[in-house]
Amino acid sequence: MSERYTITVEGSGSADCGAGERVLVALERAQGFGRLKNMPCRLPVGCRRGGCGICRARVIEGDYRRDVMSRAHVTSDDEADGVVLACAIYPLGDLTLRLEPKRLGKNGRMAEMSQGGK
């Protein structure tokens, strides 16, 4: 049995997450079991692979390992601030996080437009 950690979503509840497991996937399972009782809506889930940005969150406390994430959704400043895509991090201990979905029209989100090219 691999190491297991507790992921707390501020104000919503908590989830049990394996060391090699994507945090977002653990949260999906927890919501399925009714363990994110106070979450007012369905957990935002998209690609689960760090590309679409829908699972953007801020880690308030705890260590984690990260996969590559789209810079359209997490800039290097964001990254230094603990902003992550929850689907692209794996816990190294207990974690506390806050969901921080970006809204349309905010700067970072439009940044990828210039990447179009050929």
Partner: protein, 306 residues
């Protein structure tokens, strides 16, 4: 010759975050073959049932999403006549030299008002593997993975799709096979240059240049089931399906590549003739139009794009 002008989607170029993971996904899982890797690191892929050089181009970048999609035209001279019509319509056209992508001749390109770059080209070298043409077997090389037969179509998200509709119909001679109209306006269009139910589709979306999915043609509903087995076996992220679209009637699964770009495997769909009327869907029935069995949109359909 009945089919002139734009023939079909030739290739699509997508941005990926991790090239080795992307290549493994598109070759081992979807069942494509790597043709070559260019000097700039772009990787060129094809299905074994396609003759032309490549149909998928992967470019390593720090964001996922769509670079461009290119349609093949029947004659070299079509490039000049379409360029004239596109410029007359009011879009500036640029030129990409032959060889910018290996095996592909000169291309013309322009930007749609939805923020997507589209290109046309005529020449493509053929590459291996490809179907034999004399006493051919059903396949020369045994299909693997999801057994994709070709790159089939793409769905793109952006603003001004009413303008895309007019442009594709009036300038590129496409037809609109189906459309969704909401009380506040046009939501989506399915456009075809061929007898396929769609070659490209657009959904109205505030952010320009977004990518919803690239679809691969499978032979049958059985192969869609086989693809679903592969998705679970290799823990590939699934969006929805296996299910069916009311629109086009295709049998389908939506899932994601390792960079979060959505893929579709697609089987069936009706044959479209250019004299067929446009099929229309309204707000009350759009759920059934998109996902025929669920009869409602999932949360991700309108919000999750790269």
């Amino acid at each position: 010759m009945a089919h002139t002008g734009v023939l079909r989607p030739g290739f699509i170029q997508l941005r990926v975050l991790d090239m080795p993971a992307a290549v493994e996904h598109y070759t081992k899982r979807i069942g494509l073959h790597q043709v070559t890797e260019g000097p700039d690191g772009r990787v060129y892929l094809k299905a074994a049932d396609e003759f032309d050089h490549h149909s998928i181009v992967l470019r390593r970048a720090d964001t996922a999403g769509y670079d461009l999609m290119a349609f093949k035209v029947r004659e070299e001279s079509d490039l000049d006549s379409f360029e004239k019509r596109i410029v007359e319509w009011g879009y500036p056209v640029d030129h990409v030299a032959a060889g910018e992508q290996p095996g592909i001749g000169r291309r013309i390109g322009w930007m749609l008002e939805s923020g997507h770059r589209i290109e046309l080209y005529h020449h493509a070298d053929q590459s291996e593997p490809k179907p034999r043409i004399h006493n051919p077997d059903v396949w020369d090389l045994e299909p693997h993975g999801m057994r994709a037969r070709r790159f089939d179509h793409a769905l793109l998200y952006g603003p001004n799709i009413q303008r895309n509709l007019e442009f594709f119909e009036k300038v590129l001679d496409f037809s609109c096979a189906e459309r969704v109209d909401m009380p506040d306006g046009l939501l989506a269009i399915w456009l075809t240059a061929s007898m396929k139910a769609h070659d490209i589709a657009f959904v109205n979306h505030p952010e320009p240049g977004k990518f919803h999915h690239a679809a691969f043609d499978l032979e049958s509903w059985m192969d869609v089931g086989h693809a679903a087995d592969i998705l679970t076996r290799y823990d590939i992220s699934v969006d929805i399906g296996p299910t069916r679209h009311g629109i086009t009637r295709g049998q389908t699964i939506y899932f994601f590549d390792p960079s979060g770009n959505r893929n579709e495997v697609f089987a069936g769909g009706y044959s479209y003739y250019p004299d067929n009327p446009t099929r229309t869907w309204d707000a009350e029935n759009v759920g059934k139009g998109i996902f025929y069995y669920e009869r409602q949109l999932n949360d991700a359909f309108l919000s999750v794009v790269t």
